[in-house]
Subunit: 292 residues, 2 copies
């Protein structure tokens, strides 16, 4: 699962490893439950993860025990669903929450003896020069300074990690788009939804003008960015470091070149979110039927 | 609600403001529902927010419509409960998720015409030199470089904000501790649970030794820090900027000077979490009975 050179040698010293936020630990028989996992699909909300698990079961014709998706482990922080070789799980909002999940799910699948696993983030985002409903498949993650790197502070010092994504996986997902409007482009991940994405509609005086805002988001667009979200650099950097092929596939809920507010109806938003999920289901169908 | 000098003048241009992550907007009658709010109590998980709302109702003898806590707005991202003058809501994990909530709840209460509102974060944390179950009431937030400031990147440039908390509020909460073990101290908020808090049990080789880890957390302890969590600098900086008195009250789930793993039983963890909630309920009893 994890690239041998990147594995944490300290874990060998633990009698039991408590994956605290998942509510699972190594005293359980993780192998028999998780050994066949090949795809981990993650998104922000628990509702969407449950919904995606049920769609995967239905469209890939994988029977669910008890007829419905049931979470494994605790659900206070994350809700983990398993449908055959696919895990569907939510990571909350933002890179710190995502980072907790990445560490614990990578350890889980390593302990379970999995191999050739791919991580796919299916999310929502603010589009840049693309219409609402368009799916953006990231070919690279940029940080909020619009650089292709992720900066983490460890023991009080900054460390920089590259944020390249898996080109082959992204292209295969792009080829699975069917009738859905999709583009390849860079994805900017920020630590703040309002001022971090140059919105003018936060609670407090942002201290910048409409012109300064447009200058920043136009610069992002010119660098090839097609959407803003809040997870891409951490996701790309972690997976690259671990040696796990990874892709980021987000629907655009609005076009940020036209405004800041998400004003679509509940039905429209559900359709936009469906678009990103459906491309991944198309991709999974191609890969899983092919393997048989 | 918000300090007049800090208010966002751009909001006046919006016909309707969609508080997207709350599922509420200004076309609704926010005043009649929220105008009496005086305390916003927030924690990481939706389960704990519901549980806290029910405890407030019971112990402060505030009747709930329908006999149980029902969320207001959508629950995909955050779950908002209102019990008389108290809002109980979850903010997810990490500063980016918290930041979304702070912007939207501050706008909500501003639109509702609230005044003299206090924000209190009730969380879980890793203790520093305190035993599991101890409640740490923060007198200042430190960032992961152990500095009393919060750095945010806006339009690609770093901005620094101070992270002082409300001394009077913190002291009043400390005086409400009753029999519960509580200390005043600094709280370190990081962007990562594993390597950001110098743990040795993440998925990947952290690239530092046990000695380097202990040097970092001992330095934090010597600077007066008594716990690590993932929200304090954003929470303190936002509230200070907005002019909202704020406090951070977290139970310690373990003592990081002794290890990295959370190994307590489910029952012990529930008791630790109760300790922080109970101190705030004691505080609310003092304040709300006194006002009558």
């Amino acid at each position: 699962m994890i690239n041998p050179e990147a594995k944490n040698p300290n874990l060998e010293k633990l009698d039991t490893d408590y994956l605290y936020h998942l509510g699972l630990d190594t005293s359980m028989d993780l192998k028999s439950v998780f050994k066949d996992v090949k795809y981990v699909c993650m998104g922000g909300s628990a509702d969407r993860s449950e919904n995606f698990a049920e769609k995967v079961a239905e469209q890939l014709n994988i029977p669910l025990p008890g007829g419905k998706a049931e979470p494994i482990g605790k659900t206070e922080r994350f809700s983990l669903y398993k449908v055959g070789p696919v895990i569907s799980i939510n990571h909350g909002m933002g890179m710190p929450s995502l980072s907790i999940l990445l560490h614990e799910i990578a350890k889980l699948l390593e302990y379970a003896g999995c191999s050739d696993v791919r991580f796919i983030r299916i999310g929502t985002s603010g589009g840049l020069g693309v219409e609402p409903g368009t799916v953006v498949i990231a070919d690279e993650a940029l940080n909020e300074k619009l650089e292709p790197k992720h900066v983490k502070t460890v023991l009080g010092k900054d460390r920089e990690y590259p944020t390249t994504l898996d080109e082959r996986l992204s292209n295969e997902i792009m080829e699975s788009r069917g009738d859905i409007n999709a583009v390849l482009g860079k994805t900017v991940g920020t630590n703040d939804f309002y001022e971090g994405q140059a919105r003018l509609d936060g609670a407090l005086d942002p201290g910048y003008t409409e012109e300064e805002k447009m200058e920043y988001i136009t610069k992002a667009y010119e660098l090839g960015a097609r959407n803003f979200e809040m997870e891409a650099p951490e996701f790309a950097a972690f997976c690259l470091r671990a040696g796990i092929p990874a892709a980021i596939v987000c629907c655009a809920l609005l076009n940020r070149l036209n405004g800041d507010q998400v004003t679509s109806t509940v039905e429209q938003l559900a359709q936009y979110s469906d678009n990103a999920q459906q491309i991944i289901i198309n991709y999974l169908k191609r890969k899983l039927y092919k393997q048989k």
